[in-house]
Symmetry: C2
Subunit: 350 residues, 2 copies
């Protein structure tokens, strides 16, 4: 038995800073809140005291005094896609805790794959009403510039699910999609025993996340699994009906199809086709996102594995990052890292 105790140090307060810096509380306050009318030398004195004491502002007390409420805007594609629905629900869930978290969220839904909509909404964002924006959208030049304009107004922006690296969004909340594609490929390669062709069902060429998944998938199949051949990918536009209609032709073209990687949304169409047409049980299907539908397909054995990202985690993380950015305080990188979840029928959450 070995004990490890912490020495109890009193938390330094604004009054301590004032005392140590030899200035008044008012001056400390001016410095802390970047109010004007303080000489550079004085600012330095205060800063020195802050550093010496290791002062950390009590955000809870500050927010109480300020009666601060964070208003965050979420921009999501307006589809009946289960994953987007899950995100919406999680955002609503956040709002339910608005009193506890001092955070109010609102959602703006935009026509999918329609950058102009996003641009309009971003340009309409008012810094007096909105303290942060989270965007799930395609990485186009116009979106990129609109994000820049929002940030120029001093409003933090995070990209969700699909990154916007060329804009200078403050953070990206989501998985590494190249890695997700690689993971899918690895599972595919190890689940499929015989040689044959593999199809990648993608969503849109505009969606960065879809492109990245495809890219990762191809790389790993090429590197590690010579028994597989990835055929030209098919764009399903996240549309179940379209996907359903396309499937027969695909199976006709590739009689030696051994696997499908459904890297985007619209799983309903795929599932419908698979259950109706009684394809080989050997066919390995790997899809994305754990939703009621994909979960059932996994349980029934229609799907073999799911690559997923936790919608609750994504939304909570987006909120925490927007709050931290808005307050200019650090955050825990590890906590905000969204994991690439792999679901088999054996490790489904209850």
């Amino acid at each position: 038995m070995e004990e490890q105790k912490l020495e109890v140090v009193n938390k330094p307060t604004v009054n301590d800073i004032a005392r140590v810096a030899g200035v008044s509380l008012a001056t400390v306050d001016r410095v802390l809140n970047r109010r004007p009318g303080v000489r550079a030398v004085t600012i330095q004195k205060v800063q020195k005291a802050i550093d010496e004491l290791g002062y950390i502002r009590d955000t809870a007390a500050a927010n109480l005094a300020r009666r601060r409420v964070y208003n965050f805007l979420f921009v999501l594609p307006d589809t009946d896609n289960e994953f987007v629905e899950a995100l919406s629900n999680q955002i609503a869930e956040q709002s339910r805790n608005q009193f506890i978290e001092r955070t109010r969220t609102s959602i703006q839904k935009v026509t999918p794959f329609e950058p102009q909509d996003i641009v309009e909404i971003l340009d309409a964002v008012d810094g007096r009403e909105v303290d942060g924006v989270a965007v799930f959208g395609p990485e186009t030049p116009s979106v990129r510039d609109a994000v820049k304009r929002v940030r120029d107004k001093g409003i933090p922006v995070v990209a969700m699910v699909s990154d916007l690296p060329s804009s200078d969004r403050d953070h990206f909340v989501g998985i590494d999609n190249v890695s997700a594609g690689r993971t899918a490929a690895h599972l595919m390669g190890r689940f499929v025993h015989q040689r044959g062709k593999v199809l990648v069902l993608t969503g849109s060429r505009l969606a960065r996340d879809h492109l990245e998944r495809r890219q990762g998938f191809d790389l790993v199949v090429a590197e590690d699994f010579p028994h597989l051949e990835v055929v030209a990918s098919v764009e399903g536009r996240d549309d179940p009906e379209l996907i359903y209609k396309m499937m027969p032709e695909i199976f006709d073209s590739y009689p030696d199809l051994v696997g499908i990687y459904s890297s985007a949304a619209g799983n309903a169409g795929l599932i419908q086709f698979l259950t109706e047409s009684k394809v080989s049980e050997e066919l390995v299907i790997i899809a994305h996102e754990l939703t009621p539908l994909s979960r059932e397909a996994l349980c029934m054995g229609t799907f073999d594995a799911l690559i997923s990202q936790d919608s609750g985690h994504i939304i909570r993380s987006a909120v925490r990052l927007l709050r931290a950015t808005s307050d200019g305080v650090p955050f825990n990188r590890a906590q905000e890292r969204i994991r690439i979840d792999i679901y088999l029928k054996e490790n489904l959450p209850p």
Copy 2:
């Protein structure tokens, strides 16, 4: 584009309760903090007002006024096991944020598989100094009773990693280990192509988590993978050296070994043996917990998959649950669910 805005409602405060209930602030305070000297009828009046208003106590303000600091005690086995080390580091990390989170943590390390040590420590817990206890230990009758005694003192207890369901611990923070074993079996069954024997390397018969994993593993192999046969499991006592010494004999006994499920700790010994002895590349190895060592083994191809649980998530969750229990406030079940993480070399975190 479709907008969804929230009506802005003012957060009800204690003063609102007093007004609505037609009593004084002092009385509301007495009721809220369960202070004596209030008639049952008055308590009901206040409670009614609370319900009507949907009042939620502002914990931040309350903790400020109380100058509350949460003191949590973590009881961990004293091993040089990487996973336990990761937990310790995460606990220390929590303490680093003690000013922000108003949470102070301390760690007590106990001799592994030695219930008496845990009992002593639990019995020494003082309610004036400790606001909650998190225990990672074996489920023995004496531990169970000691946990009960701690709870009888009004101190919340959570079990970490390995559950103590027979004690009435407030919560369990960790994965479903039966499910983890099932997951390992599923991967094993699908990764191994030819028929052969599979070995389960376990830790201790006392550890509930190890037992559960074994159980889940056996079930799924029996159900779904007739080409595999699970042989009698070997107890490694989480000891790398012991495991290293045992391996040659095992390989001699089972020339047709196709897979190893290392369900406990002590991976270092296994890795050392595998790299030295150049066993077949076909041999599938699935181990537990992502650590520097197991990570490297996965990258090198020595391990084929890892079943893991996020140590950061576990500690943060334990702290949040202890805090919530101690305050008597609800918590977000989904957020506190620890996932069974599957790592392949393609989805390792950066």
